[in-house]
């Protein structure tokens, strides 16, 4: 599903060039469960941003479902992000003035979906993350774990092929972090590919495939075929 070939991403800082990604080639199958680990500054977020079409590689090609998306226009990339990719961020990134329902509704509004259909789908998505009761709560009236589950509902509302989660449990305590991971794994069990960047080995080891990065390179690629504990 995801095909990265010889991806480079260079940042110019002053007159120095930082190689955030240094010749990364990677294939990820549809429906897979992948964790990305590695020290700070090793390029995990940069890799995730390129997969999510939030950033463009300096060199290399990126194919998504067989289609070369490396050089798509802004509008085309926006459409791919809207329809095929769901994002979950460490900082949740809910719009504070909108309630849970409205936050989940945003991707549908951007896609121009009719209100009646939106109602139905948002209710379903909130029910799936166990937040039906909280639909009309603002983010500041929700706990961190609940906020992240609202964000997950928003990430799934367009029925994407893949969910990209950058340290989804980074701002959460152990218990609600566990709930969030279980919620994401349920989605994965339903067929959506899941890519999780994490510093927490307990979280990372749950994935079927574990990638380790170092200095912008893929250092280790571990496939575990047994079901996670």
């Amino acid at each position: 599903m995801i095909d990265l070939e010889h991806i480079h991403r260079d940042f110019r800082v002053g007159d120095q060039i930082v190689h955030a990604l240094d010749d990364v080639s990677l294939h990820i199958d549809a429906g897979d469960y992948v964790s990305i680990m590695g020290p700070s500054g090793s390029g995990k977020s940069t890799l995730l941003n390129i997969i999510g079409l939030l950033d463009r590689p300096t060199a290399g090609t990126y194919r998504l479902n067989g289609r070369d998306v490396t050089d798509l226009s802004d509008t085309e990339q926006a459409e791919v992000r809207n329809r095929e990719i769901g994002f979950v961020f460490q900082a949740f990134h809910l719009v504070p003035r909108l309630n849970a329902f409205e936050n989940v509704e945003l991707p549908l509004i951007l896609a121009g979906v009719e209100p009646a259909e939106r109602q139905r789908r948002v209710r379903e998505a909130l029910a799936a993350v166990g937040l039906t009761e909280r639909a009309h709560h603002k983010p500041d009236q929700l706990s961190g774990g609940q906020r992240q589950r609202v964000a997950i509902a928003r990430a799934t509302i367009m029925r994407p092929n893949v969910i990209l989660a950058d340290e989804p449990t980074g701002n959460l305590d152990h218990r609600s972090g566990g709930e969030v991971i279980r919620t994401l794994e349920e989605l994965n069990a339903a067929g959506i590919a899941l890519i999780v960047v994490t510093h927490d080995p307990l979280v990372g080891e749950r994935a079927r495939r574990q990638l380790h990065m170092l200095d912008g390179r893929l250092e280790r690629d571990l496939q575990t075929h047994h079901a996670p504990a």
Partner: protein, 404 residues
């Protein structure tokens, strides 16, 4: 991927409502700008209409003949004093009736004299006139009759008085039929003017009208003060003017010794000056709209940087650059539109207050000023938010989302 315009409006409105204090201040700035345009142009237009009305109250299509030649064609002290080498007579006035373009002629004499009745007396403006005078000046009679349509040369001892004279001399007693003393002569009161209406320079309530021949006797002068000539139509004014000049020149042995002014010319000048003034104050007020526009730009720039993460998020969720621009512009248009409507209401309310306080001034904003105030408000709101919108659209989503 097309947002519904209802969703755009809803989203923009929600964003505005989440900063109520700031939104209110911007609405206020916009509203004050629009209200200023509306009220100031209303004042200018009111002043213009006031002058136009005053002149029409003087009589329509009026041509005024003044004894004495004025080189500039306007008024100067000698023409005002009525100093002239040759008298302007009742016979001259009679001669001016002989044109198809002339509807009415009123020879006029004006002076001051002491008017007394029953032991009370007052110094009053005395107007010597004829039957036609009432119609020419568009005045109304309160009681009795006006001067009879007798021969102009006939010095009848009758008088028509203003309502203030009636009050002050007669009090509660009946004035009609009483004999007034004016100077050393006696006149019978046959009519009382309605107090309605004022004309430039003349207080209808505070004067006494007697036949022009009587006034010439009273003031012991052979010359008229003015001849008022009413043309049949606006188009007839120019031929009437020529007719008057020619007729009087012939009658005065070929000497051009009168000044003929049309109120039309004076009116047109005032109209132009006051019209220009209205544009000017409207333009000055419009500057305050531009100031409001700059304010909107600043606030929208602040809004964009405050909402960087939100904009980055919208991009991650599938908003294109265009969508982001549209959302920011919608916010600005909503803001300036609401401000403009608020200003419209504020300005119209202001006009009502001005009309209450200054009833003589018909303060009414001309439609062009109303529409352009609204247009300018919305266009400045839009123009000045183009930059913030572009800045928002150009935000790098990765940076926008990573900034905490």
């Amino acid at each position: 991927m097309h947002l519904h315009s209802r969703d755009i409006g809803h989203f923009a409105w929600g964003a505005l409502r989440s900063y109520p204090g700031r939104t209110f201040l911007m609405l206020l700035a916009m509203a004050i700008g629009v209200a200023a345009v509306i009220v100031l142009t209303a004042l200018g237009e009111g002043a213009r209409r006031y002058v136009v009305d005053e002149f029409s109250a003087l009589g329509t299509n009026l041509v005024i003949v003044i004894p004495g030649r004025s080189e500039t064609g306007g008024l100067n002290p000698s023409t005002l004093m009525g100093e002239t080498p040759r008298d302007l007579t009742i016979a001259d006035a009679r001669a001016l009736t002989r044109s198809v373009n002339v509807r009415r002629v009123a020879p006029l004499n004006v002076g001051q004299a002491e008017v007394s009745w029953g032991g009370r007396s007052r110094e009053v403006v005395i107007v010597g006139a004829t039957h036609e005078y009432l119609a020419i000046r568009h005045w109304k009679l309160g009681q009795g009759r006006f001067l009879p349509a007798a021969k102009w040369e006939q010095a009848l001892p009758v008088a028509v008085i203003g309502s203030k004279i009636r009050r002050e001399l007669f009090g509660p007693r009946r004035a009609l039929g009483q004999w007034l003393r004016i100077g050393d002569r006696r006149y019978r009161v046959i009519g009382i003017l309605a107090s309605r209406g004022r004309s430039i320079g003349v207080d209808v309530e505070d004067l006494v009208i007697i036949p022009v021949a009587s006034a010439l006797q009273l003031f012991n002068t052979p010359s008229l003060f003015r001849i008022l000539v009413e043309a049949r139509s606006r188009e007839a004014i120019a031929p009437v003017k020529r007719f008057i000049v020619d007729t009087l020149q012939r009658r005065h042995q070929g000497v051009k010794d009168v000044t003929v002014i049309t109120q039309d010319a004076v009116l047109a000048t005032f109209d132009r000056i006051l019209g220009a003034l209205t544009y000017a104050v409207g333009g000055i007020a419009a500057i305050s709209l531009a100031v409001a526009g700059i304010l909107i730009m600043n606030v929208m720039l602040v809004a964009v940087s405050q909402r960087t993460a939100e904009i980055g998020l919208l991009k991650a969720l599938g908003a294109t650059r265009r969508t982001i621009s549209v959302l920011i512009l919608a916010e600005a248009i909503l803001l300036s539109g609401l401000g403009a409507v608020g200003g419209l209401l504020l300005g119209l309310a202001g006009n009502v207050v001005i009309r209450r306080i200054l009833p003589v001034l018909p303060a009414q904003t001309p439609l062009w000023a109303l529409l352009s105030a609204l247009m300018v408000a919305i266009v400045t709101g839009l123009l000045f938010s183009l930059l913030p919108a572009r800045r928002a659209a150009a935000l790098d989503p990765v940076l926008a989302l990573s900034r905490r």
